[in-house]
Amino acid sequence: MQNIRTGFVFDESLNAAFLAELFEGDTIYAETVFEDFLRDIPVYWERVETAYNNKNLPVLGTSVHTCKTLFGYVGFTDLQELCQQFENKCSVNTVEELRLDYLLLIQRKERAQHIIEKEYYRLRQFNGSNG
């Protein structure tokens, strides 16, 4: 990838080593991906909420699976694992049994989204000042 810049340090809650390998220093592309994440995650999360409210466990599992992939592209590898566990539970538990896991997932997703918003603005600033 072009546009290689050095010196940008990702938030410590993100897997910085993986992001460094994924973007290879291309902070312009990182900015694009973070922007796309913020555009897409509300759409996919709405599917999660709808499936949970409708007690549709197969769709709930599939929707969380999609979110899991998105979290990976912005460096939330630990949240990916949490999604994977939740996805697995969707095939063996009832919605009632998943309630606490679901609440935890919402909490972690909100926090992740907030961090990515901050990282996106930091990337924009970084790229702007180095452009």
Partner: protein
């Protein structure tokens, strides 16, 4: 030589990454990106490509269903964030498996492996490529020779129950014994398809005289169960005079 490909992926970020990696590698030409199996199949009906980057979980139908419906065998790289598909991937003879999100380095390893496969005739280490069935197979004889167990073995066509693709090898299944030879199902297809042999799945050719019965999408043949691929259903129905 650039490999032509399509991307079948419902997550835009993942597809964008793949496209970017393809461009960066300069080894792969992306002919299209499809968000679902149906659109990809429409394209593949019109145009053949060397390889597919194929997601597994997509709305409507999954990646394996696309493989069932394909009527030819491009190289396949599965792209998924689930490792549970590894067994299916093996069964479907996919060429590589990229766990999302993957880096450019991992992507390049996969592509280079496929390029070698295309560029170099596939030769197992320290062995001579098998001339598959000898010319005898292409003439109007009721037998063929295959190279297996370090010799040329004569097989009566009528003894063959079915052939199974095993990546770069083909397994000939007969009532008495199975033989594995270094070749591809595509190669065998060209030599055997005719009156008695029919490709019923991307990984199977069966001897239609040996079929016992068919239940749903499965052919039963002397204790063996052979799946019928969705893309082969119509031809199977026509050839077997299914009323």
């Amino acid at each position: 030589m650039k490999l032509s490909c399509i991307i079948v992926e419902d997550i835009q970020i993942a597809a964008d990454f793949l496209r970017k990696f393809c461009e960066k590698s300069d080894l792969v030409e992306v002919k299209g990106h499809f968000l679902n199996v149906a659109d990809a199949l429409d394209f593949l009906d019109q145009e053949k490509v060397d390889m597919l980057f194929l997601d597994v979980e997509m709305p409507g139908a999954n990646g394996f269903e696309l493989l069932d419906r394909l009527t030819y065998s491009p190289m396949i790289i599965l792209t998924t964030s689930k490792t549970e598909y590894a067994f299916n991937a093996f069964q479907y003879h996919v060429d590589d498996y990229l766990k999302k999100p993957f880096t450019f380095k991992r992507f390049q390893e996969a592509i280079q492996k496929l390029q070698q496969k295309v560029a170099v005739p596939q030769t197992p280490a320290n062995t001579t490529p098998t001339p598959a069935p000898t010319p005898a197979a292409t003439t109007d004889t009721d037998f063929l020779f295959i190279k297996a167990e370090d010799k040329l073995i004569k097989l009566k066509k009528d003894d063959i129950l079915f052939l199974e693709s095993m990546r770069d090898y083909v397994k000939f299944v007969t009532p008495a014994k199975n033989y594995i030879t270094y070749s591809t199902l595509k190669n065998m297809e060209e030599k055997l398809i005719g009156l008695n042999f029919l490709k019923v799945h991307r990984s199977y050719i069966v001897n239609i005289n040996k079929i016992d019965d068919i239940r749903g999408n499965t052919i039963y043949l002397l204790g063996n169960q052979i799946p019928i691929g969705k893309g082969h259903k119509d031809e199977v129905a026509a050839r077997l005079n299914i009323l």
